[in-house]
């Protein structure tokens, strides 16, 4: 079983501030996860802001280099991809989806620019018509068509549409891994589910694995196969998605779940500020705590 992606003992340590007023931040501490290339799955990374989930995603994408440990995609480390050709191969296999659709597209340029670039350089389409058919195919996968998108500027489309175009662009080289960093947080709630279900359909119909980064437990519950919960850089709970979210074991996971508001608590007056004591206590011991395995396959850092 060749591993699609292996993240072993990866840590990332930032030093900010000038030479004199230094401040040290451990963004990610000893993160481990692996995706197999046999079965496509949706692997979710859950965490609040500052939990290190985005830093981990950027390291997998090669936008940041880990301070220690290494990340291998199909056996090769990012640092080994020196030449442009090697990097292009990596881009054919791994594609990102960014958070803010309006920031993903250069507001001054037409939207289909990126589609053509991917079709030509990544997919290798030689003629314009070949490129257009590849693009149209990818757009259909996300429920759009080239006619709707050609020649348009980013602000002429809605957030939901733009995000779909971004996903279509990522699908052009038929990647085996999509890394979606909070892909729906900027999209209207009613349209959010259409994109979340789209990610699930991509897994089922096209065998694309997705690393889904979010702070929203509800969407995570809806589409994830496995998930990781991160607290200030540490993986505190990891394993099969639904069992963990139905009955979280780690105090921080429980705190997260209790804090999630839902329309079902209408009229139940359940709005009382969450009790942080247990989670704070667990955080004190995080340095010495280790990941302990449970029967249902999850790991909890206690």
């Amino acid at each position: 079983m060749t591993a699609l992606l292996e993240v072993s003992h990866v840590s990332k340590h930032f030093v900010t501030g000038g030479r004199l007023s230094r401040s040290h931040i451990d963004a990610v501490v000893d993160a481990n996860l692996s995706l197999s290339s046999d079965a496509s799955e949706i692997f979710t990374i859950i965490g609040e802001s500052g939990s290190g989930k985005t830093t981990l995603a950027r390291m997998i994408l090669g936008l940041e280099h880990p301070t220690s440990g290494d990340i291998r995609f199909e056996g090769k480390r990012n640092a080994e991809r020196r030449t442009r050709a090697a990097r292009r191969d990596f881009y054919r296999r791994v594609q990102p989806i960014f958070q803010n659709p309006f920031e993903t597209f250069n507001p001054l340029k037409r939207v289909d620019r990126y589609l053509h670039a991917s079709a030509r350089t990544l997919f290798g389409a030689r003629t314009a018509s070949e490129a257009e058919s590849v693009i149209d195919g990818a757009l259909h996968k996300v429920g759009l068509s080239l006619r709707e998108v050609a020649g348009r500027y980013a602000h002429e489309l809605s957030g939901g549409q733009l995000q779909r175009v971004a996903i279509a662009r990522a699908l052009i080289p038929n990647p085996s891994l999509l890394i979606a960093d909070e892909p729906v947080s900027m999209v209207d709630a009613s349209l959010r589910m259409s994109i979340v279900t789209l990610l699930r359909d991509l897994r089922d119909e096209f065998g694309v694995s997705v690393i889904y980064i979010t702070h929203d437990l509800a969407t995570a519950y809806y589409i994830s196969d496995r998930l990781v919960i991160m607290q200030k850089g540490y993986v505190v709970e990891m394993g099969p998605a639904r069992p963990i979210l139905d009955a979280p074991e780690h105090p921080y996971s429980r705190l997260l779940k209790d804090s999630v508001l839902s329309i079902t608590d209408a009229g139940t007056d359940g709005l009382v500020s969450a009790d942080r004591s247990e989670s704070a206590a667990a955080w004190e011991r995080v340095g010495t705590a280790t990941l302990q395995e449970r029967e249902d396959g999850r790991f909890v850092r206690l």
Binding site: G17, G18, R19, L20, S21
Partner: protein, 335 residues
């Protein structure tokens, strides 16, 4: 206060580096010239009669020290720094032989500092005040007039504005003295007549500097404030019905002052150049007039002395302005 002391230390180190690089640049430039100044300056002295031999000897020593052909460049560089650090003993000037060049410079420096500090203070405050009001009250016609005037005057160089003022007050409406720092018949010292005369003579140069400087600050502040006005904390204060005067000064202007102070540190170098150019037009006895006279008489030591002192003075002035920065911006103080 630990953060503040770190900040001061960092800024002080920056100043030292600027002085070192600037003064070294001056040294290198003087050594670019093909002709060797030693014999040219000595010959022009010895042709003039009855100067004490020790003074001539002293000049020869200084010149060979600095420009001696036989000495390697590195040794001259070391000598140069030794002389600079001993209070700028570059040897006697040609202009007023045998008085040392540095004495002439030290006599001229205070006048430049007087002109520079008064004009910078006035333009910085007035320019930012009116620019801030123009940025906040964008419909007021009076402030729009200021805007148009600033746009008209701001690009005009110091020399031209000073020259136009000179013509106006020299020929058209001669009510102000147009040259020198104080009247001849006044005894210099801390007496009233002298001070009044100094003020009267300074009016024209300072006004000329203010007219040029005001536009820069006015337009910079107006652009800055027209952005700050859309900041959340300003809109929120307006929503809360906080009195307009309090919003304009403590919210809008107070926040705009921080970047405007950094801007002052950035442009101090060019304002200094402008000041000594303006001095020369009114032959105000500052560094500018001294520099031009030195160049016209081929006085190497004084030109070198003026350049090095100018570079050092600007570096110190920038350091002082940087020290004010944390006082205006608590984020720097507490970071």
């Amino acid at each position: 206060m630990k953060a503040y002391s770190w900040f001061v230390l960092k800024r002080f180190a920056q100043m030292i580096v600027v002085i070192y690089v600037g003064v070294s640049t001056a040294f290198l430039i003087t050594h670019l010239s093909p002709i060797n100044p030693v014999d040219s300056m000595l010959s022009s002295i010895t042709t003039r009669s009855n100067f004490s031999p020790e003074a001539i000897e002293e000049m020869r020593a200084a010149l060979t020290d600095l420009y001696g052909v036989d000495k390697p460049l590195l040794e001259q560089y070391v000598n140069f720094w030794q002389r600079f650090l001993q209070g700028g003993d570059f040897g006697p000037s040609l202009l007023a032989f045998p008085t040392p060049a540095m004495t002439l410079v030290m006599r001229a420096l205070p006048w430049t500092v007087l002109l520079l500090s008064t004009s910078v203070l006035i333009t910085w405050f007035l320019g930012n005040l009116f620019g801030g009001l123009a940025g906040y009250f964008q419909n007021s016609r009076l402030l729009k007039v200021f805007g148009v005037a600033s746009m008209g005057v701001q690009p005009i160089p110091y020399y031209i504005v000073a020259f136009l003022f000179l013509i106006f007050f020299g020929f058209v409406w001669p009510v102000l003295p147009i040259s020198g720092a104080y009247a001849m018949d006044v005894q210099s010292g801390w007496n009233i007549d002298f001070i009044l005369s100094v003020i009267q003579h300074a009016i024209l140069p300072v006004t000329s500097l203010i007219v040029v400087g005001f536009g820069t600050w006015f337009l910079g502040m107006r652009a800055l404030v027209s952005n700050i006005v859309n900041e959340d904390y300003v809109t929120y204060a307006e929503l809360a019905g906080v009195p307009r005067r309090r919003i304009v000064f403590s919210y809008v202007m107070r926040n705009a002052a921080v970047p405007q102070l950094t801007a002052l540190a950035l442009v101090l170098g060019s304002i200094f150049s402008g000041t000594i150019i303006t001095e020369q037009v009114y032959n105000y006895p500052g560094l500018g007039t001294l520099l031009v006279d030195a160049v016209n008489t081929g006085d190497n030591t004084t030109v070198l002395a003026v350049s090095t002192v100018a570079i050092t003075a600007v570096a110190i002035a920038i350091f002082v302005v940087d020290l004010l920065h944390p006082l205006l911006d608590p984020r720097v103080r507490a970071s």
